[in-house]
């Protein structure tokens, strides 16, 4: 079965990211397809490579990046939500005249249409948030 996942909260602050990670892993283990993970609201903060979490805790950003690479999962950060919160890739850096970017490997920034498309294309959309 084809799943779309929406993540609305930032890592560590709220359990939503970890729940989504565990759900995605379990769905993959059961042979399902993850069509896309869409990061909205503070969920966009899952996509910064500048975090340095405590060594005795999970590295959430890295877990997403590794999962994306291993299973070729589409991790999409909403551009409007990202602009408000300072998540920037090279394209956004140039477009908005910023002097740095912070997007993590495996994530891409795109529009809200990607969420609607996930809703249309997937058999199930599962939302994790606050």
């Amino acid at each position: 079965m084809k799943f779309g996942i929406q993540v609305n909260e930032g890592p560590y602050t709220h359990e939503a990211s970890v729940s989504a990670l565990n759900f995605v892993k379990a769905a993959l283990d059961a042979g399902h397809e993850i069509f896309r993970v869409f990061f909205y609201h503070d969920g966009v903060n899952n996509g910064t490579r500048l975090t340095t979490p405590p060594q005795d805790d999970i590295n959430i950003v890295q877990s997403w990046s590794e999962l994306a690479e291993k299973h070729n999962i589409d991790l999409v950060v909403c551009v409007a939500a990202a602009q408000r919160r300072g998540i920037v890739d090279e394209g956004e850096q140039e477009r908005n005249g910023k002097d740095a970017n912070n997007i993590a490997p495996g994530f891409r920034i795109s529009g809200l249409g990607q969420l609607i498309e996930a809703g249309i294309q997937c058999d199930r959309l599962v939302v994790f948030g606050d």
């Binding site: 609201h41 809200l112 249409g113 969420l115 609607i116 498309e117 809703g119 249309i120 959309l125 948030g129």
Partner: protein
């Protein structure tokens, strides 16, 4: 399943205190371009989003409430408000913005988008949906 899915956006949070209400509306506006069968539900503190007379001047932040009035132009005209949530908050339909749309199947007559429904009716409406987005 047909090509058109029934999309339901559920709004349960008050405006301004947090951004969920505004960012949910941004999804609805983008989603309108995809020609799906769209409904909005307002319950719990979400009903406060529709209260008329919002004025954020003194806070110095954007007042996004006029956007609700534009929903009709985007063919988003099924807006369900739970009666029980209104009552617990001392509100009636008169306290809400008068959201309208022009019905192309009825000679473009202007009609009300907001329908106040009971919890039991809302439960039935929710059952009929294909995709539920929650904010």
């Amino acid at each position: 399943m047909s090509d058109v899915k029934k999309f339901m956006y559920i709004n349960r949070k008050a405006p301004y205190g947090t951004i969920y209400a505004w960012e949910a509306l941004e999804v609805v506006l983008i989603g309108a371009a995809f020609e799906q069968d769209v409904s909005l539900a307002f319950m719990d503190d979400g009903v406060f989003q529709l209260v008329k007379g919002q004025d954020t001047t003194e806070l110095g932040i954007k007042n996004f409430s006029p956007t609700y009035s534009a929903l009709g132009d985007y063919d988003v005209n099924k807006i369900y408000v739970e009666k029980e949530s209104l009552e617990a908050r001392g509100l009636t339909l008169d306290d809400l913005m008068p959201l309208k749309y022009e019905d192309e199947d009825d000679d473009w007559a202007e009609k009300d988008s907001i329908r106040v429904v009971t919890a039991a009716e809302m439960a039935e409406i929710l059952e009929q949906q294909d995709v539920v987005l929650s904010f």
